[in-house]
Amino acid sequence: MRLSLGDKMMQRTIYLLLILMSVIMLYPFWNALVISFNEGSDTALGGVTLWPREYTLENYYIVFQDHRLLNSFFITILRTLSGTALSVFFTALLAYGMAKKTLLFRKQYMVFFMITMFFSGGLIPSYMLIRSLGMLDTFWVLVIPSIISVYNMIVIRTFFSALPDGLEESAKIDGCSNYGIFFRIVLPVSGPVLATIALFTAVGHWNDWFTGAIYITTDDLLPIQTLLRQIMNSNIMTEIGSSNAIALDHMNRNRTVTTKSLTMATMMIATIPIILTYPFLQKYFVKGVLIGSLKE
């Protein structure tokens, strides 16, 4: 197809804008990475933009020495794994039931679930509930309240409904129960959609700081994002440093680490696991988002 002059100009402009956008998208992250590898006192002089000026691993070295940080890293991994597994399992189980046209009260159940998508009790009543359940300051508060996601249920249900009927019918004739069909036939063929939901649930768990911020007060249960926020908020990175003698020693002797360089290193540690997974899962999540946005 031949392009007119106007069309060509438009296309050039679009390429230019998209390149500019890509730079703006990447730069903040890249700059933080660079700073995390740059010597702290040198960073403080300013002008560290595209490349480390005084390359060092010291920031990471110190951050990895901090037991509080390692502990919350561990809590976050534990929470992400268990939270994702439980959530995907129970949501899929629910979605399977809801996908069955024969399910009694199906319509009523659906209304029951849909209402929660548009109306909620809000922050304070939720807090009171968690408190009266005795879940304040427990690991489970990070996992249990978010097990069922109505939105994800609808996505999975849409996928289940589209499965060919014959798939289940033959199993039924062979005397398979609904649970048998669910575990042995439906789950194994639903890999892509479950992977998508699992990815989003996992990202949600990994990135959530708010649950930790309101429901958890003891340090050894804090998820990494919550801890990171505390660090940034009060600039207590120096205090974190002082919790181990090595860092304090470093600071007093050569002053090569600063609040900023340590914060950047921590941020990278809290982000890189997510960044590493997503290019591999990109093709799945694009599909998943599309299933989710389909109208019923």
Partner: protein, 308 residues
Amino acid sequence: MKAAVKPSVWKKLTNQLDLQSMVWPGIIFVAVFSYIPMYGVVMAFQQYDIFNGMMESPWVGFMNFRMFFEAPEFWNVMRNTIVISLLKLVITFPAPILLALMLNEVGNMAFKRFVQTVSYLPYFLSWVIVSGLVFSLLSVDNGTVNYLLERLNLSQEPVNFLAIPEYFWSILVSVNVWKEIGFGSIVYLAAIAGVDPAMYEAASIDGASRFKQIYLITLPSISPVIIIFMILAIGNLLSAGFEDILLLATNPILRPYSDVIDTYVYRVGILNARFSYATAVGLFKAVISVILLVTANKIARRADVSLW
């Protein structure tokens, strides 16, 4: 009649107990974690007392609501909520559509994929990380933005961007666009891919420029998708933002421009422990949101698109 129906429902139910038992755990979870808090909003009409609990606390009618309407913060909080929401509706909402339209004009597949991958990246960063990046970029002593301004001779001394209330709205909206634009574009790209290519051919034979084709074919074709997301956005109008504002506006000096209903509820409710008052404010927001959602849906129905 009733007597005849009841046993059969009961029988049907017992016949599909295994199917029902798959749904019930989900129902119990939602009943506990969504419906009990909904019931908890009665606190808004009480003078909640921690020691007495909800059962024993005295009823006060609409007193908590009246307190909010008469509070010195009321107009400020409402103004910020509405302005920030509208800014997001006018800027953050159309941005992914614009990106999708631009990406659709890209012929080079490798380049297109690269831009898409890069634009999704920020969606996967938590707001904590994003706020950290923003603080770092805008920092007074060694942030890149001030460094550039200085090198280009645009400013004599470093600007403390996150301590100037008037700048907050623009920073907030820009950061939101940055975080959401790529991911939001996925749905629109798919909708554009579904448009019949024959329409473009016909238009280009008639001599329509690419720009005209976008305006006359692409946009009308994807308008149902746009309207659906618009309705949802309007339903969330009073949720001007929570995480983003809470994390970016750490400096109290910004409060006259940054405080919205949700951050106000958080501050007053959780940090100051005024449970009843904060619940009332939250309920006020929820009720208006539902009204907005229903209204938007009704209006959209005239264009034959609706959520339900």
